[in-house]
Symmetry: C2
Subunit: 328 residues, 2 copies
């Protein structure tokens, strides 16, 4: 850094007397018999859980190592795959110290017993309307209806814009559901006051204490269909993570970061479905997996299928993934 620049920066920071806190947050995803899971740190006094997180420290050589360190310190869980998600830094209320939060996505392998950490929660408890594996969930229908009211309540000028956003995010009348638009949907619900955080962040009567899960129905601005809230803007981070992950599994072999050493093709499909929240066509999924050359048969069979035994596969990490390969 040139002297000029360093001086300018220091001045900039000091001239306005601002000290900025830099935080690291992790959305840690795993999968077990119970389905897709997310790792949460202990719930605060208000009963609202939060993502593992902590401030950036001097010892952290890189941001990523800082994230690993905080997650392990808070939950005992070592991390495998880690990737940066997004940096949040909007000013909250005036007068408060500013925080910049750098959010990461992490994936860990292994069954529930093999994972050291406690604090794993069902992913879709926080996003019930995102799970379409058993068909259109009731939560999505309710929210769509609530959003329709929100659209109609608007002044005519903004009505059209709202309608378009709702349709883009939730799909037109039962038409195709785009599972990747998780963040878009969350932000729409937030804006429409349909998630608990909307009311909380507006500082509605310090009513925060009552919002601790599905029981909060009927609260002003809350809605059970929209799922359990998390502390601060952590649910926004989680929405960002899910959206990114749902997009990424389509063009990068990240699925294997969640798999055990040996697995059947249907195991793989179940995880893909759990993350994307939609059902997949079995033969097509198989063909795709087999054509990519990312996996190979181990020669053994799984007998716990309930029907015909399935071939067991393993991941071939040596394959450099020549795919269309968008990197980032």
């Amino acid at each position: 850094m040139s002297k000029v620049e360093a001086a300018e920066w220091t001045m900039g920071a000091h001239a306005h007397g601002q000290t900025v806190g830099v935080g690291l947050n992790a959305v840690v995803i795993a999968f077990d018999e119970a389905g897709p899971r997310v790792l949460l740190a202990n719930a605060g006094e208000d009963g609202v859980s939060s993502l593992p997180s902590g401030p950036l420290e001097a010892e952290h050589r890189t941001l990523e190592s800082g994230v690993r360190s905080w997650v392990e310190r808070q939950t005992g869980q070592p991390l495998g795959f880690v990737e940066q998600l997004y940096t949040f830094g909007d000013k909250s209320r005036p007068g408060t110290r500013r925080f910049v939060s750098i959010a990461y996505l992490a994936l860990v392998r292994g069954t529930a017993e093999e994972r050291p950490a406690a604090g794993w929660a069902d992913l879709y408890v926080h996003f019930p309307y995102e799970d379409w594996r058993e068909g259109p969930p009731q939560a999505a229908c309710e929210l769509r209806a609530a959003l329709a009211r929100w659209t109609l309540d608007a002044a005519p000028a903004v009505r059209r814009s709202r309608l378009e956003r709702v349709e883009a995010a939730f799909g037109r009348e039962g038409a195709r559901w785009n599972e990747e638009r998780v963040l878009e949907r969350y932000e729409l619900l937030y804006e429409a006051g349909l998630v608990a955080e909307s009311a909380r962040d507006r500082g509605v009567g310090e009513a925060d204490h009552d919002i601790r899960g599905p029981g909060a129905a009927g609260e002003p601005g809350a809605n059970p269909a929209s799922g359990w809230p998390l502390a601060l803007d952590h649910r926004r981070m989680l929405a960002t993570a899910i959206g990114r992950l749902r997009a990424k599994i389509k063009y990068r072999p990240v699925l294997f970061e969640l798999m055990p050493d040996e697995f059947t093709l249907f195991d793989l499909q179940r995880i893909a479905e759990a993350l994307s929240g939609v059902r997949l066509h079995k033969p097509n999924f198989r063909r795709l997996m087999e054509s990519q050359g990312l996996i190979e048969e181990t020669g053994r069979l799984s007998v716990h299928t309930g029907g015909r035994p399935a071939k067991l596969f393993r991941y071939r990490p040596e394959i450099t993934m020549e795919r269309p390969g968008k990197d980032e």
Copy 2:
């Protein structure tokens, strides 16, 4: 934020006596007759330019507004489309103050005359090997050769891994070039010591002063084919931006953020080619554009084509872009 958490954070930051500087950086892209351009702030005393940037300040309500404000303050250029790119925060040398840099990508419309800012530079001056519009550039051939030497020089254990990375980034022997892997390529060159920044960041004899462009040939670790360096890690940010943009134009209508109000289909194609760095098949590009419904004819014709007049089109922003629409 709960009291517990706030206390913990403050302690965390203070216990280690670390003050973190948070910087905002912008990669601002435009397009004119001369081709794709990037906006640079004035060159420092060492002759190395840098991206518009400055510290996050208390007045900035959001990170994005902070970026807009800094770019306009430093270059006079107001920004249109802005999107977060990546946050860099690895510790540089021990003992120095830590900086977290949040990089943004921005696109601005208009010809060279319409744009207020000075400081626009040719994008590919910084990445000569990324411009394949006139076929495989010489720079890419030279770098491939240099990387081959770097691969062979390695210990046998790492040789295979290096070879695979080089082939994934640069394509096997003249085979398909994946234009999106800009960052992967830059990082490989950095690691191999083929860009000026590698030597500079290792602190090689304070030789920084001599690195100011193509003239630096023969410097230890430098290479004219790898392009002009920028200050700090700004070329890494630029590589990140180009990669992201090249991927994004394929599934989101960002191209129009660079276009004037009226344009021909070939104008559009020229910009797509300039950004992606490869030639496109004209009839196919037309078909794609016309099938997406994102543009409409204005009814007028352009007579400056040199041949048959071309229909003029305009962008239809009212179309909500129902495409597969990965959001982010």
